[in-house]
């Protein structure tokens, strides 16, 4: 297990460096002028571009620029937005809301997909299973902003159960609808993998062995089957984080939540390149770390994936 973790960490470092280089490079190293379009419909003055180029160090060679970027990331000195705010402050203000939103959403996702997925797996090809399977495909086909608007319109405008947009303090009760919208986008995949693993596991010989050991059905299913189902489900949950993070940009935009996604959304609209690249890089690092932890957890849950 230690060996596996070490090896996995060694693989993680180049991927992390590569991903941050790609992300940073997309913003700063591509041909084209990052300050283009910052002056509305007219071209920016040469002097403005020169000032900005110096301020953001774009006159230095690319490797130096990247090292500076890395150094700044590590020291927490993230620089300023074009409008002069400290990016670290902006992030610190946005993070707690998004953390709460994501947490609520993941809990919803896990509870719903586990309940539906496991039940349909246990009763595979029954009426409930077929309905759930078809329903999951429909949910999977709805782009997240469509779900968001339908939710906003039906629950917020028509029925008036929730406020259509979230207020500045973002109390948890108001985050439930946006979290549900986020969960729906990623629910289907998790549900289907759970259903598939439960259905497959039910035919496994080791369940017969567990029954032959005289255990109650609750232990046979709840311990012997479930432990086998957990690793693939956790793996999918880790990958689904990508969709969740992409989704927050749209959901926080629609519900006017002042979180990380909303921050990216507004930064795109204001063409705040540095803010976009910094925040997105941090989000990617977070995503990679989550998936590293998921891999290690999966190896703990299913020893066969350690191959040592």
């Amino acid at each position: 297990m230690l060996k596996f973790t070490g090896r996995r960490l060694l693989q993680f470092i180049p991927v992390l460096i590569g991903a941050t280089i790609i992300c940073w490079g997309l913003v700063w190293a591509l041909p084209g002028d990052p300050f283009r379009g910052r002056c509305g419909q007219v071209a920016c003055s040469a002097q403005y571009i020169q000032t900005m180029t110096q301020k953001y160090g774009l006159d230095k060679p690319l490797p130096v620029q990247y090292m500076v970027f890395l150094k700044n990331m590590f020291t927490g000195n993230l620089g300023q937005t074009f409008s002069g705010l400290e990016i670290s402050d902006v992030i610190a203000r946005a993070l707690p809301v998004t953390a709460r939103l994501a947490l609520i959403s993941i809990v919803m996702q896990i509870v719903l997909s586990a309940a539906i997925g496991i039940y349909s797996g246990l009763r595979a090809n029954g009426a409930f299973d077929v309905t759930a399977l078809f329903g999951s495909l429909i949910l999977f086909s709805l782009p997240i902003f469509v779900v968001a608007f339908i939710g906003q319109y039906v629950l917020g405008v028509q029925l008036g159960w929730v406020k259509p947009t979230v207020s500045t303090e973002a109390p948890t009760s108001e985050l439930i609808l946006p979290a549900a919208v986020l969960a729906i986008g990623t629910l289907a995949t998790l549900m289907r993998i759970l259903r598939a693993s439960v259905e497959e596991g039910l035919n496994a010989d080791y369940l017969r062995t567990a029954r032959a050991k005289g255990f109650k059905e609750s232990r046979v299913i709840g311990v012997h089957l479930m432990r086998n189902v957990m690793a693939p489900a956790l793996n999918v949950l880790g990958l689904e984080f990508a969709a969740l993070l992409g989704g927050t940009v749209i959901v926080e935009g629609i519900f006017n939540i002042k979180g990380i996604g909303g921050l990216i959304y507004r930064a795109i609209q204001d063409r705040e390149q540095l803010t976009v690249s910094t925040v997105v890089t941090l989000v990617i690092v977070f995503y990679l770390v989550i998936n590293l932890l998921v891999d290690i957890a999966c190896a703990q849950l299913d020893p066969r994936s350690r191959n040592d």
Partner: protein, 321 residues
């Protein structure tokens, strides 16, 4: 915008190739013919599946709509009569009118082109590059395999939607012409989308190459190209086909989401995502402006997902009864 089915599809691809069991000459020859058998069987199954037939019908109708929008709607999608602004559905405009008094039905019809172009181009691009790089990795092994696999890891490590957001917000401005935006959009999706296809292909080739019937084929003196084209590739084609079909919907959703964020196509081009974005201001007063493009978007994506699902069931011998 997700990468949903890849885990399941890879798992099935690995399972569908059974590398065990003794092999006789007869079986090796039978395996030689099974590339036909699988497709014929699959077609027989699919022909009787209403879900598949309906989705293919919907896809065909949408394709016609994209190529010949004039057949489905008369008038200019960008010309509006302000007097009709935000009017609800009526005989004169089945889906109502938007804030500029433009006919929503006409605009929805014209919007099919943007979605299908992006969906089609991205699928072809990711599939071709994915197959090429995946096969190269599996066959070369060693350094090249490691290099391709690590690059794939890095690209997969960046959430798809965020990558597209960064690229488009860097490379395009309000002045960028639409055709450039479209090309940049497609290239971005292709660059960040090929790794999952390549992974599936690499996994299938590696498992298939050691399958007994392939080894037997080689031992019996079948030529290398015959083994490759008759044994190895057919095994890789079905998971790729399933994955690609399902992902068309994902690409269309990505395009719509980016257009919705204001990073995709802009007027005068018509796209569903952009229509939804325009309509969100009138959520309370004129929900139809937002509703109809959303429905079309959802139906389009659903058609591809259902077609992919039906293909998967038909091509997966374990699930057939």
């Amino acid at each position: 915008m997700t990468d949903p089915v890849i885990v399941e599809v890879v798992a099935e691809a690995e399972k569908s190739v059974d590398p065990h069991g003794p092999v006789s000459r007869a079986e090796a020859e039978a395996a030689d013919d099974r590339s036909h058998g699988v497709w014929i069987d699959a077609w027989r199954t699919l022909r009787r599946k209403p879900m598949f037939l309906i989705s293919v019908g919907v896809i065909f109708a949408l394709a016609l709509m994209a190529v010949f929008p004039g057949w489905f709607a008369s008038g200019d999608p960008n010309k509006g009569v302000l007097a009709n602004s935000l009017d609800g559905p009526s005989a004169g405009g089945w889906f109502g009118f938007d804030v500029n008094g433009r006919n929503v039905y006409t605009r929805v019809v014209y919007g099919a082109r943007a979605s299908l172009t992006v969906g089609f181009a991205c699928t072809v691009g990711t599939t071709l590059i994915g197959i090429l790089l995946g096969a190269t990795a599996a066959y070369s092994g060693g350094f090249i395999d490691t290099l391709i696999s690590r690059i794939a890891d890095m690209l997969l490590g960046i959430p798809f939607a965020l990558a597209a957001i960064i690229v488009l917000s860097t490379l395009t401005t309000f002045q960028t012409p639409n055709w450039q935006v479209e090309i940049i959009l497609i290239l971005t999706i292709v660059i960040f989308g090929w790794p999952s296809i390549a992974r599936v292909l690499r996994a299938t080739v590696l498992t298939t190459r050691n399958a007994d019937y392939v080894v037997a084929g080689q031992a019996l003196g079948l030529s290398g190209t015959r083994v490759l084209f008759r044994h190895i590739l057919p095994n890789a084609v079905s998971p790729i086909l399933v994955l690609s079909t399902m992902r068309v919907g994902g690409y269309i959703a990505t395009e719509a989401s980016l257009s919705y964020l204001g990073l995709g196509l802009r007027p005068p081009a018509v796209s569903w995502g952009q229509m939804v974005s325009d309509g969100q201001a009138y959520l309370r007063t004129a929900f139809h402006v937002l509703l109809f493009p959303s429905i079309f978007l959802a139906i389009t994506i659903l058609a591809f997902v259902l077609a992919g699902e039906a293909l998967r069931e038909a091509l997966n011998p374990a699930k057939r009864k």
